[in-house]
Amino acid sequence: MARKKKDKPWHLKFTWALSILMLLLVFGFFYQSFEEMLKIAPVQVAVERIMESE
């Protein structure tokens, strides 16, 4: 028998939405930082330096 889903109180929906919003913003910040990191190209530079030293 399918159990009836309980309605969540409004404040839980609200804090859920707030938490998701904050999570999206933090991931937005990570994306912004990732773009900055790509300008440095650390993996490429590290590989080049390792190859040079061999």
Partner: protein
């Protein structure tokens, strides 16, 4: 349905273990650790600066010839067609090393700074903005090479970016004085920087002492001490010196970016207070009393008077959520070898009102959360709180293990 709203869990504390049920947990954790180590190694290999490249980029019209065979800083270059020298040196800032280039020119009696270039830095952009706005860099223009170059001596610091100011000044001082002795043949007449302990350091030390007192005693003065610490940390640690502990500090320590105690006693008092309280007392005194952002959140909550409960799905997974966020942040920090790049906390922006791009939205969103949910940021997103609480737990476990093994032996 009842409208009773319960605050969960106790302030600043996080649920102990919430990810035991996750499938493939061991594999995921193993991958997380291995990838962090790999990112650290790659970042360290890539981060070694190409000093000549930096200098050529900053002075593209000059022909520079290396004056010595050194491969590490300080490096000295002769400018072709003139008697000027350019010296590169390094100082330790808040986020990592600051590399400067100083062009010194001989005068009749001594030498003069013709140009000072900040070639590379890993500081939080807000700190550098503060230095720019405080006209900090202008102070170096036209200075004599035999000047002292001591912050709070002949160089004025900028409040809220003192460690960065000291790091920059230290790098310039090393470069200038090396050039003065070795290339301008001057005798050292300048004052050497000594141990520095000023009013800022005294205030921070006092705040820690009061926080310890308030945490251990239950008398009348303990209440007063708690109030003083609350106001003091907001005004002083937050707005005045802008020295909130962030993930970038922890990552900086892991990467070996540790300033000298002689020049950055404020940093050392903060770290000794935070980690010392964990190690010797088994308490996370920073999150409980010193963190200025916690005070801001408490104030926001007091103003609104609302105490909403966090959705249980988020609350149960808070620990895993923050670990995951800090894994992404640490990957970015280690790969770029730039502690400020992955530090997603809104602290620096809150207290200096300077930020970049999306950071401007994280601060108001976290404050909005704090208006409705007590210590919203601390409980769901703060990596510093999580790591400090984890250290407290680890200490408890180690202590329990020692007690157990002692009892068994006895």
């Amino acid at each position: 349905m009842t409208d009773t709203i319960i605050i969960d869990p106790p302030s600043g504390e996080l649920p102990a273990q919430d990810s035991k049920g996750l499938p493939w947990r061991g594999i995921i954790e193993g991958f997380a650790w291995a990838s962090l180590v790999a990112a650290f190694v790659i970042g360290q290999i890539a981060a070694k600066p190409d000093y000549e490249g930096l200098l050529q980029q900053a002075l593209p019209d000059e022909d520079l010839v290396r004056s010595d065979a050194n491969t590490s800083l300080p490096l000295v270059y002769q400018v072709e067609g003139s008697e000027d020298v350019v010296i590169m040196a390094e100082g330790e800032g808040y986020g990592g090393p600051l590399v400067v280039g100083v062009r010194a020119r001989r005068t009749e009696e001594s030498g003069r700074l013709a140009k000072v270039l900040l070639l590379s830095n890993k500081e939080t952009p807000a700190f550098m903005e503060r230095l720019q706005r405080g006209h900090f860099f202008r102070q170096f223009g036209g200075k004599d090479v035999s000047d002292n170059f001591i912050v709070n001596g002949d160089i004025d610091a900028v409040s809220g970016a003192t460690v960065s100011a000291r790091g920059f000044t230290s790098a310039v001082r090393d470069a200038v004085h090396l050039g003065a002795v070795n290339h301008l043949d001057l005798k050292p007449t300048w004052q050497q920087p000594g141990w520095f302990f000023g009013i800022n350091e005294a205030v921070l030390l006092l705040l820690f002492l009061l926080a310890f007192y308030a945490g251990y005693r239950k008398d009348k003065f303990a209440k007063t001490a708690k109030l003083i610490v609350m106001i003091g940390t907001l005004v002083f640690v937050g707005f005045y010196v802008n020295a909130s502990l962030s993930l970038s500090n922890i990552a900086g320590i892991l990467m070996g970016y540790i300033p000298t105690p002689a020049e950055h006693p404020l940093w050392w008092i903060m770290m000794t207070g935070v980690f010392g309280s964990i190690l010797f007392l088994g308490r996370n005194i920073y999150c409980q009393q010193i963190c200025p952002f916690m005070v801001v959140q408490d104030l926001a909550q007091k103003i609104s008077g609302v105490k909403l409960k966090i959705d249980s799905r988020f609350q149960k997974r808070a620990r895993t959520l923050i670990f995951s966020l800090s894994w992404v942040a640490l990957m970015l920090i280690f790969l770029s070898a730039h502690p400020a790049l992955g530090s997603y906390e809104p602290f620096a922006m809150m207290f200096s009102l300077e930020g970049l791009g999306i950071q401007w939205y994280i601060l108001p969103a976290s404050l909005l959360g704090a208006f409705f949910v007590p210590r919203f940021w601390c409980r769901l997103f703060c990596p510093v709180g999580l790591y400090l609480n984890e250290m407290v737990r680890l200490r408890r476990r180690v202590k329990a293990w020692f007690v157990k093994s002692k009892t068994q032996k006895g």
